[in-house]
Amino acid sequence: MIEGIEKAIDTVLSDLDSVTLHFLESCVSCGICAPFCPYTIAGPIYEPADKAEEMRYIYRKKMTIAGKVLGPLVGAKYPKDEKDLDRMINMAYRCVNCRYCYQTCAFGIYSGKLVIMLRRILDKVGRTPSTLKYLQSIELSDSVLINDKVREKWDGILKEAKEAIGKDLPLDKQGAEIVYLPWLVEALLTPEVIVSTIKILDMVGENWTMPSEPLGFEPPMGVIVGDRESERKVFRRINSYIAKVGGKKALISHGGTPYMEMRFEMPFVMNEKPSYDVIHVTEYLSDLYEKGKIRIRREENGKVTWHDPCKLARGSGVVEQPRILIKASTSNYEDLPRGTGMYSHCCGGGTGIALITCDGRKLVEEFTGEKIKPAEWEERFCPPLEEDYKKAIKQKVDEISEINANIVVTGCSTCIYNINKGATLYDRDFQAVHIVQYLLDKIEVT
């Protein structure tokens, strides 16, 4: 038996609720979810229901009478050796939690949630990829600007923003209506998004503020690595900051994990309703546009499309707003062909996947100037994941190529990184940009 595994399982299954029980008990193995998962392309064993089955093995062994009595005969077992752990981690990190399996399941089962439970067990037995552990430790530090190199980069972004608006940034200002929350992952992947958002906030004369340093790397990293306690700690930090400055709306430009988690999951995790609204910059801009506070100048620069980030669209219902804005800017807009909104196809690299590939690790190391030492088991884990990740993002770039789009507008830094990486890898002639970058020069304040 693996050291600590029983305790890990006890902890993870101790907060089981009726909805998760349904996810664990109701799969009939129909496989309808399979073609929609970005990682099925890595092999049928990575279909959503197969990945979730790893968690079901454990659940049956721990919590069902048949599982306790009949064991493997009824698919009930605990991981017992390195081989089992290797298989578990391969399953747990070939899921981007894009919710497409949930949307296409005949029984409303969210397999991604069970994969996160697997990550929680793995985290407790020391099987979280070292890059994610490192990033989590950054997030849990008193300051995410962990060293001079990171601080220098952050200061550089603030300096550029200050120069762009021609005045001091309203950092940590009390009584602002809007609290803009940029994260360190944006400084790593899309620093220009932070600058563009600041310029827009200034341009429209908003009463706004932002923290002098990010409140997290990609909060909550706890949800990505599977550590509920660190999730709560980071949420508490964010809540107390917003309470301190007295903001009414938290504005987020990164439409990946942080937006969906703060908007829809935080109240469950913290068991309290936040005192502020959480809005994505796309919602903010479309609200200004619909109220007539801004105009959007038309410019024809090739075919434009919108990639729905899974956590922004399927996870949070932001579907129409970006289309209203983009269609106001161009007559050459076309939706992606394989599905939009609730049925959009994931870019393939979210929920930590892009950053735990070998390339992702190098990117983080270059950003922080610190060396991340991978564990011995990661040598087996990382190279095949890198290959599967490339296959997953290829599906997205192929979809974009089908309509010959020149500009892929989106609202998530991770999606931008993955799509642009795919375009480079597969020699495609398009570029992904964030919606604030895309609209910045087209917005006119009325």
Binding site: S26, F107, K273, M342
Partner: protein
């Protein structure tokens, strides 16, 4: 005592009792694990849109299967469920009589009864003359009209047998060649049991393999017994989706869609 008597007289009460116990056990787990938590701020959606999302939650997996899992749609959803088990179980004339015996209000569905035989259904349309009969109607008197050529017990049972057999055969390479974890031993047990119910029912209806009364009683007894086994296993197996988890899952999904304003 023969198999028929055993199935009808001895097994009925234990079957209902085990089913009831299993249902209470399963449902109580859901009740006891229910956790009330703070809610996020719901997105505003109109009532018509909420109704649309509710319907969509039940429909979109089927649409997804039509688009990307055509084999699953044809064999699993269309043949096995829509055209097989569901109409046979609830609307086959013999079954309506059975349901109504134990639950009299069920007889309200009698006008929707599906005739058993393909032959009589076909004759309704194809015979050049009406038979001499003392009844008020010539052939099969049903609101389904010409549809009975397809909508009859024989055809539906054969479609359901094809669908079930296909699903069973499909799972063999999935389990042993592709080594898919999601394919479980229980899937084979469930499908074999379903196949046994369908085949024994079809054979009993057609007095197969021979027309003598003992063979008929044995086959009918086997049909009833295997159906009872399904009922008593229902709360503990994937058949539970039929009475609870499908409905719970889809209603929860619709609730989630409302919350997120999709």
């Amino acid at each position: 005592m023969g198999l028929y008597e055993f199935a009808v007289y001895d097994m009925f009460v234990p079957t209902v009792a085990i089913f009831a116990f299993g249902m209470v056990y399963r449902l109580s787990r859901y009740v006891f694990l229910y956790k009330r938590a703070a809610q996020p701020m719901w997105r505003k959606t109109s009532v018509p849109h909420k109704i649309y999302l509710l319907i969509d939650a039940f429909v979109h997996a089927i649409v997804a299967a039509i688009k990307r899992s055509k084999v699953t749609f044809v064999s699993g959803i269309f043949l096995l469920h829509f055209f097989g088990v569901i109409p046979i179980l609830f609307l086959l004339s013999h079954h309506i009589v059975w349901w109504s015996y134990y639950f009299p209000p069920y007889s309200i569905l009698s006008p929707l009864a599906i005739p058993t035989s393909a032959t009589s259904s076909a004759l309704t349309l194809t015979a050049p003359f009406a038979p001499v009969t003392g009844m008020s109607h010539g052939f099969v008197n049903t609101i389904w009209g010409p549809l009975t050529v397809v909508l009859n017990g024989d055809v539906l049972a054969i479609l359901a047998i094809i669908g079930t057999t296909f699903k069973l055969l499909e799972k063999i390479p999935e389990k042993f060649k592709e080594k898919l974890a999601r394919v479980r031993l229980g899937d084979f047990v469930a499908l074999l049991l379903l196949l046994a119910i369908l085949i024994s029912g079809y054979m009993a209806t057609h007095h197969l393999p021979s027309g003598d009364i003992e063979t008929y009683k044995f086959m009918l007894g086997l049909h009833i017994l295997t159906a009872e086994i399904l009922v008593l296993l229902l709360p503990f197996t994937k058949f539970f989706h039929f009475v609870f988890s499908f409905w719970y899952g889809k209603l929860h999904e619709a609730y989630d869609l409302w919350r997120r304003g999709l």
